[in-house]
Assembly symmetry: C2
């Protein structure tokens, strides 16, 4: 097989012709398929129906605190829920505050606190002329929306295969207007990259100029393995412990969530940090709310019990997700390998596969797919301000469609990649 970029113009046009006729076939099918968001499938949601079992009168008294979970109180959350969340990211349960149904909201709140009140007595960011934020790219669009909403200047940091470019991070934090960085350290959104031990340790040992610089460590996919083999279950060091060892205990906020473990939008979430940071958060949280939903915390404790319970449950998710990831990978291999039309990753966990087209082609592929009824995440979304400088990154979210739908969607996808790439080559 001759790669597209080495084909003659004539051969390319011939190839295009056959692709166009396939395209026309799909046009008639009026498809409506969605690979845009990391939404669990119905089959996955069904795994947690036990969470909707009744709670009896005997169960409403929390075993640790003796408190009635149906009433006000216990701002930090139930001990059992702290232990459960801590077990997911292997941190100390005492460092955890259990929050509501959305870890995104917890991150938003934590940035809002820096903005409105300042961390540990530092000046609130609202009083500063300029706040800058480091954004490893490609990254999670909803992270970037938060920092954009607060008016921070976002600085893209390229990702390497073992995490963000730490030379650059170490350089940027010398600027005291740089106040934070977004990180998804394990099975990153969208590339599924796992930060190496070295990267984690370099993070823990950062010496930022700003005392109120914080790492926002969104450990959203900590237990989201796709494979049961232990060697494919990547592990990263406990960032809280590493920061403590490095003499930087207050450097990090770690976030966790059961959104893609139990129910999306009806799970529990948490933030973990040093005792000093935790006290600072609680002092503001106590004004903000009387407390989070403890009945839902109880449901999670009852249903999962402990780390082993979560592990077994995640194996069931993996069993559903694995064939979908393989479908994506296999279709990309089948249709695109050897053609020099793009590259892709093959992650061991998480929710996404990232496809990189040749430059200037990604947004074209997304619109062509959309025209055929296949919705992808908007091109550019994984970048600050929605701007992908090379217009080459596409995030594929295979979780929601059925396997059959996914196969059709991927057939459409690879077709559009080939067509758009040929058009781009022919332009030159």
């Amino acid at each position: 097989m001759i790669p597209y970029d080495q084909m003659t113009r004539e051969d390319l046009l011939k190839e295009k012709e056959s692709l166009v006729s396939a395209y026309k076939k799909y046009e008639k099918m009026e498809l409506s398929l969605n690979m845009a968001r990391g939404k669990p499938s119905v089959e996955q949601l069904d795994l947690s129906m036990g969470m909707l079992a009744p709670i009896s009168h005997d169960e409403v008294i929390d075993v640790d605190s003796g408190m009635d979970v149906r009433n006000y109180g216990v701002l930090e959350g139930l001990e059992g829920a702290k232990k459960l969340l801590a077990s997911m990211v292997s941190c100390d349960p005492n460092s955890v505050i259990v929050c509501g149904n959305s870890s995104l909201n917890v991150m938003y709140d934590q940035i809002a606190r820096g903005f409105s009140f300042g961390y540990l007595g530092e000046k609130p960011w609202s009083k500063l002329k300029k706040v800058k934020w480091l954004c490893p790219v490609p990254g999670y669009d909803r992270h970037f929306s938060i920092t954009e909403h607060f008016g921070f200047e976002m600085i893209p940091i390229p990702m390497n295969s073992d995490g963000p470019d730490m030379d650059l991070v170490e350089e940027y934090v010398k600027d005291d207007s740089v106040k934070g960085i977004w990180c998804v350290p394990k099975y990153s959104n969208p590339e599924g990259i796992v930060y190496s031990e070295e990267v984690v340790k370099r993070f823990a040992n950062l010496k930022p100029a700003a005392k109120d610089f914080r790492i926002f460590w969104d450990n959203a996919y900590a237990v989201h393995y796709l494979y049961d083999e232990i060697e494919k279950q990547d592990q990263i060091p406990d960032i809280l412990l590493e920061c403590k060892k490095a003499g930087n205990p207050n450097l990090v906020f770690e976030f966790m969530s059961t959104s893609k473990i139990s129910f999306s939008g009806s799970g529990i979430s948490g933030v973990a940090s040093s005792p000093e940071n935790k006290k600072d958060i609680i002092s503001s949280m106590t004004v903000q709310t009387i407390g989070y939903d403890k009945v839902n915390q109880l449901r999670h404790i009852k249903f999962f019990k402990d780390a082993a319970g979560i592990r077994e449950h995640m194996k069931k998710h993996a069993k559903i997700l694995r064939p979908k990831f393989l479908c994506v990978i296999n279709t990309l291999e089948r249709d695109l390998s050897g053609k020099n039309v793009g590259t892709w990753n093959n992650p061991n966990g998480g929710y996404f596969i990232t496809f990189r087209t040749i430059p200037n082609v990604a947004s074209k592929v997304v619109s062509m797919c959309f025209a055929l009824g296949v919705t992808l995440t908007g091109a550019g979304a994984p970048f600050p301000y929605g701007q992908d400088p090379k217009d080459s990154v596409i995030r594929i979210a295979p979780s929601f469609p059925t396997l059959e739908e996914l196969q059709t969607a991927m057939d459409v996808f690879t077709l559009c990649v080939r067509l758009a790439t040929i058009d781009e080559i022919l332009k030159k």
Copy 2:
């Protein structure tokens, strides 16, 4: 009976002696009773155990949207939940956004949005030198904590028997640094006052100098009647409609919550406002969260069904609360009436009874009660910065203790009122 303030010094000392011996009796009892917070009793929480019934697979698809409530989506909340919340305060369901488990958090967020981003294109309050806030007093301490946390200057507005002093409110809003007012319009915390139709209409017709002045209408006790007789079930006009009629559609945010209807801390809450304000809120909310807990919204729709369901449920709460309120009122009557030692209100709804001592006595009463093991809300709490200028207001929250405990607590309370009042009179 001779009122204390008309007794001779000798008679007062004699009265004190007999009270002191009663005090000593209580000292030995090592009581531990709490009338501090508006917490529902266990018996009340038990009324909603049906909320913890299982949810079946057939029920997880929302009838209105066709959405699976277990998955992401429907940022504004389920239609059924909007209708339920709207029915409680008699507003248009389309004006409602359903939020999480804490209406306090919704109010906090709404103030935070004014502070960080500004309403409808107005300058964010964080950029202003001075923000002032009107605080009807006595009021809800957690309201005041929020405005204090954001550094606003709080201006106390005296309450009349039909709501805040509107002459003063109308005067203050001429100052464009005055950006808002806290209101609990029905069965106010702590006095149980119901705003009159005239007061509501004067609110709706305010002409504030600041375009971003907002009324924070915390309609927390809208359906919290203590009596089944219709003439004791006070009604107030729909503030949203009144604002619209007055040509001030954007003037108000109305808040509602099921915290004291279903479970405290595991209910649902909402904010209602004009289409323009709603759009403004959603544009920020969409950055803050992927959505609120729709499974819990479904639980509420299932359990209460509609306005009639809420009404029947609230009658059950009233049946439990009524004897407690009567216990407080009767004990105050029995021990304090005719003594000129204080006044109290006898509300038709809500969660609190307010007692007013003679000046300089409230904090003494609270500490004396505390010394005997009876915890009351801190004196001063219902005022901005915790400062009651006359030191005379005490909030009594009768809901949590059993009737027997409450009787003992009230016996202690009236004893301490009498003792502290005599001490104060003797000082002169």
